[in-house]
């Protein structure tokens, strides 16, 4: 038997899991429509590749992955695209995002499914296939799975952890999946094993699910693998990836470090299952198991299409009359959806019918008494009351000193707080403020450098222009001076006007003078541009006259030639 480790903190809320495990998984009926959000994973938002009116088949790709960390999305059923655009999505903000809405034709007709033998393919191809099949972490974080399937170059892979802990109260979809489809989970885990080549594969399941443990042990045997199925103590959040890794391997993955750097990687059981379906059956991720529970008459697990409106799915469980909302996810980390019609997404593992009887409204917040309960409950060993203090005061620099970004928002601190302070809410607020500020700062830095560059460029252009003009003016002046000299030489009455400081002028002075001349020329040009343009089209005669006048003016000292006379 493997030696288990402990993680600090954690809480033991009532698990409320028994209600929804008495019935086997049911297939949810076709909904009235499906609205598939394009952005269902961490990373780039897929681009829609269908248009309104297109006929799509079940499993047909409708959103192309954008960038490496991104995953494709697919039509959950066959039908007609009736809308591509903004729809309210299950997000705490209640905002809309791009979705593809499909009206089912009722035939549920598949695209051609191609099964592949992944063992005969290069690892890159397998990763690409998973990306194309939209396989993402179904534990709730929805990180694209293919992005986690590259072992670190320097560190050998020691353990692969398959997460069947399912620590949040009420949720039982992974439990049922392991009980009923354990073999496929094991085969999926084998895919990950083959790609990552770890020394050991550990399947961790909380010990409040003995049926799942037994089912998985049988499945491992049936498939003929040497995976270890381990019952871990039931304590929230044992199902957090970092906590489960700690319990099974003793390794602590610090914030900002990849777990592969410590030679370990973790996947949810449902992710393993979908990876197997994607490769061995050619089925992209278009449905998932969802626990329908809470204030309902018939709690049960359903295999529901992605995009199913939540109220339609919840209706299958027959919510009681006082139901006043839907929590997506568990009661610890889930959130009340802003609109009951939002679609089921890949992250939706559970729908809990909310009622005030089941989840009493919270009592008013009291001041923090620094009792330290939160610090003892924090699985990441943070000091939530200190972070709260600074978040509340909007002293975000200090919150970072207390490692606010190590917070996994598991809710243990809020759970135990005797003053009923919504601590997690404060931390989320502080984090999103910090992110927004980072972004703003970056934007303002970019603006500043661009502004400074523009100023520099303007200055440079001005100088270049000035130089150019100066050169032109100098050339002209030289020409004029030459003409004047010529005129003098022709023997016209030469008055004893001393030629203005001719030979002594140094080249530096010359440049200066040229600049002045250029400035004057510019001003003149400006004036000319403003004045009526009666000097534009002159006859040769007129031009000669002007030149003669100019020469006379010059000779009489009215106009000073800029350049020393050419000798």
């Amino acid at each position: 038997m493997l030696q288990l480790f402990k993680f600090k903190g954690g809480v033991k809320p009532a698990t409320n899991k028994t209600q929804s495990v008495s019935q086997p998984i049911a297939i949810a009926p076709l909904p009235s429509h499906v609205a598939v959000p394009l952005h269902q994973s961490i990373g780039g938002t897929p681009r829609p590749i269908v248009a309104v009116g297109d006929k799509v088949l079940k499993g047909q790709k409708i959103g192309e992955a954008d960038g490496w960390i991104s995953a494709a999305v697919h039509a959950p059923t066959s039908g007609t695209v009736i809308h591509v655009g903004q729809q309210t999505v299950p997000h705490p903000s209640g905002l809309a995002a791009d979705c593809v809405v499909i009206e089912p034709d009722g035939k549920d007709e598949w695209i051609e499914r191609k099964a592949v033998d992944y063992r005969s393919l290069a690892p890159e191809t397998v990763r690409e296939l998973l990306r194309e099949a939209g396989v993402v972490g179904l534990g709730g974080a929805v990180f694209p799975t293919h992005g986690k399937l590259t072992p670190a170059k320097s560190v050998p892979m020691e353990q692969l952890v398959i997460n069947g802990a399912e620590c949040e109260p009420f949720i039982t979809c992974d439990d049922l999946l392991m009980r009923e489809r354990g073999e496929e989970v094991v085969r999926g885990a084998a895919i990950f094993r083959d790609l990552l080549q770890p020394q050991k594969v550990l399947i961790g399941i909380e010990d409040n699910k003995p049926e799942a443990v037994a089912a998985m042990q049988a499945a491992v045997k049936a498939v003929g693998e040497d995976f270890e199925v381990i019952a871990v103590p039931t304590r929230y959040p044992a199902g957090g990836a970092k906590q489960l890794i700690r319990v099974l391997t003793g390794k602590e993955v610090p914030n900002g470090k990849r777990s592969t750097d410590l030679g370990v990687q973790c996947f949810n059981v449902a992710t393993a299952y979908t990876a197997w379906r994607a490769l061995a059956h050619g089925e992209p991720v278009i449905s998932r198991l969802v626990t329908v529970t809470g204030n309902v008459a018939k709690p049960r697990n359903y295999e529901a299409l992605i995009g199913t409106p939540m109220d339609e799915l919840l209706a299958l469980g027959e919510p009681k009359a006082d139901t006043n909302g839907i929590i997506m996810g568990g009661p610890m980390m889930g959130f009340l959806v802003p609109d009951v019609k939002v679609p089921v997404v890949k992250a939706t593992n559970c729908l809990i019918a909310h009622s005030d009887a089941l989840f009493p409204p919270k009592a008013p917040e009291m001041p923090c008494i620094r009792c330290g309960e939160c610090a003892r409950a924090c699985p990441h060993e943070l000091q939530p009351f200190e972070m709260y203090w600074f978040s509340r005061a909007k002293n975000f620099g200090k919150t970072q000193e207390y490692n606010i970004f190590d917070c996994i928002e598991c809710g243990c601190c809020s759970f135990v707080c005797p003053s009923r302070i919504p601590l997690v809410q404060y931390f989320r607020f502080a984090k999103s403020e910090i992110w927004a500020r980072e972004k703003e700062k970056k934007a303002s830095e970019i603006a500043k450098t661009r502004f400074e560059f523009k100023q520099f460029r303007d200055e440079r252009e001005k100088q270049e222009k000035a130089e150019k003009l100066a050169k032109a003016a100098a050339a002209q002046a030289a020409k004029k001076a030459a003409e004047a000299a010529a005129a003098q030489a022709t023997g016209e009455a030469a008055e004893a006007v001393p030629p203005p400081a001719a030979a002594e002028t140094s080249p530096a002075d010359a440049v200066k003078k040229a600049a002045i001349q250029a400035a004057m020329a510019r001003a003149k040009a400006q004036r000319e541009a403003a004045a009526s343009r009666n000097t534009e089209s002159l006859t040769a005669e007129q031009q000669q006259d002007i030149q003669a006048i100019e020469a006379r003016r010059m000779a009489s000292g009215l106009a000073v030639p800029a350049e020393p006379k050419a000798e």
Partner: protein, 341 residues
């Protein structure tokens, strides 16, 4: 229909400040019962006076600060302060002194700093310190163990209805020992003084030793209920026992045994009920050890070498000052960062 967008977690543990404070009060009940039985019912009168004053002071300040009354009066923190004040003041202290002390604790030490959770100093200890500085004589008059006064007599003394006769009162065992040693000028040893069981009881003061034992039991119950953690009391008791033990071994004639120090005066009350106050005390595990040990050491030094009859209040107040600094330097390593990375 409005939808509550309250935030996760939607499940909460059944915990509240009131529950915490109620359990602290419950833990004090056995000691109060023994106190009533051995010393007299005066303590019940003092508890009533202090509670009333605390609630009135709190209500008044909440009104002034425009805070809602119900949640803060109901949180029980003022009552805890009041009970602690009643327990650390002499049981025959005049009513007005208890009222002054309590009001100072609630109005100045607690509410003026921002109320619940904001006070840097333990309010009950501030009350004790203020009164012992302002009324040193009255604060040193403890009931004479040789006399047994009934409820009516004690009531009359507290409210000044009968004259406060010197014969009625005596010094505490701690004070008496210190004075006795000083008067004896090295001629009289601790052992000889402690032989006087009328004053010193079985091992640490007649009557008082059993009350402090009850504080210990109440404190252990609080620890078992996870209201307090083990660090502060352990460090406090450990430090007090260590320094008193060391000096006792050095010269048993001049220095009382650790047993005497642990069960005399406010040591147990301080270790389990006052130094463990989370608001004014240290909060990190290592910080709590430092805090407790510091308070234990200072208690002994003030007791034995200082001018005051007991050192608990000043020791804890001094450590309260250091709390932010202790916390700053004892932040525990977080998950994944334990190898000094």
């Amino acid at each position: 229909m409005s939808m509550d967008f309250s935030t996760p977690p939607y499940l909460l543990k059944n915990a509240s400040v009131t529950r915490v404070m109620t359990q602290v009060l419950l833990a004090l009940v056995p000691a109060i019962a023994v106190y009533t039985w051995l010393i007299g019912p005066a303590i019940l009168i003092q508890i009533a006076i202090a509670s009333l004053a605390a609630l009135l002071g709190e209500a008044l300040m909440l009104k002034v600060r425009r805070q809602p009354l119900a949640p803060f009066l109901g949180d029980g923190s003022a009552i805890v302060t009041a009970w602690l004040i009643a327990l650390v003041f002499p049981p025959l202290a005049p009513w007005w002194m208890v009222v002054v002390g309590t009001l100072f604790a609630i109005v100045v030490a607690k509410q003026l700093y921002g109320g619940l959770g904001q006070n840097p100093f333990n309010p009950a200890m501030v009350a004790f310190a203020v009164c012992i500085v302002s009324f040193p004589a009255l604060m040193s008059q403890w009931p004479n163990q040789a006399l047994h006064l009934g409820f009516a007599d004690q009531f009359q003394i507290i409210f000044g209805l009968t004259p406060r006769l010197d014969a009625l009162t005596a010094a505490t065992p701690l004070d008496a020992l210190k004075t006795g040693l000083k008067l004896g000028e090295g001629q009289v040893g601790v052992a000889a003084l402690l032989a006087n069981q009328d004053v010193y009881g079985q091992f640490a003061g007649r009557g008082w030793e059993w009350i402090t034992l009850c504080y210990l039991l109440g404190g252990l119950w609080l620890w078992q209920r996870k209201i307090i953690t083990w660090q502060v009391p352990t460090a406090y008791i450990g430090a007090l026992a260590a320094i008193s033990g060391a000096l006792w071994l050095y010269d048993p004639a001049q220095f009382a045994s650790p047993l005497f120090h642990l069960f005399s005066g406010g040591a147990m009350l301080g270790a389990f009920f006052i130094a463990t106050d989370p608001v004014s005390g240290s909060t990190t595990p290592r910080g709590k050890l430092i805090f407790g040990a510091g308070a234990g050491l200072l208690t002994y030094l003030i007791r034995v070498f200082g001018g005051y009859p007991d050192g608990v209040a000043f020791a804890i107040l001094l450590m309260n000052i250091c709390t932010p600094l202790i916390d700053l330097y004892t932040q525990p390593p977080i998950f994944g960062m334990k190898n000094g990375k």
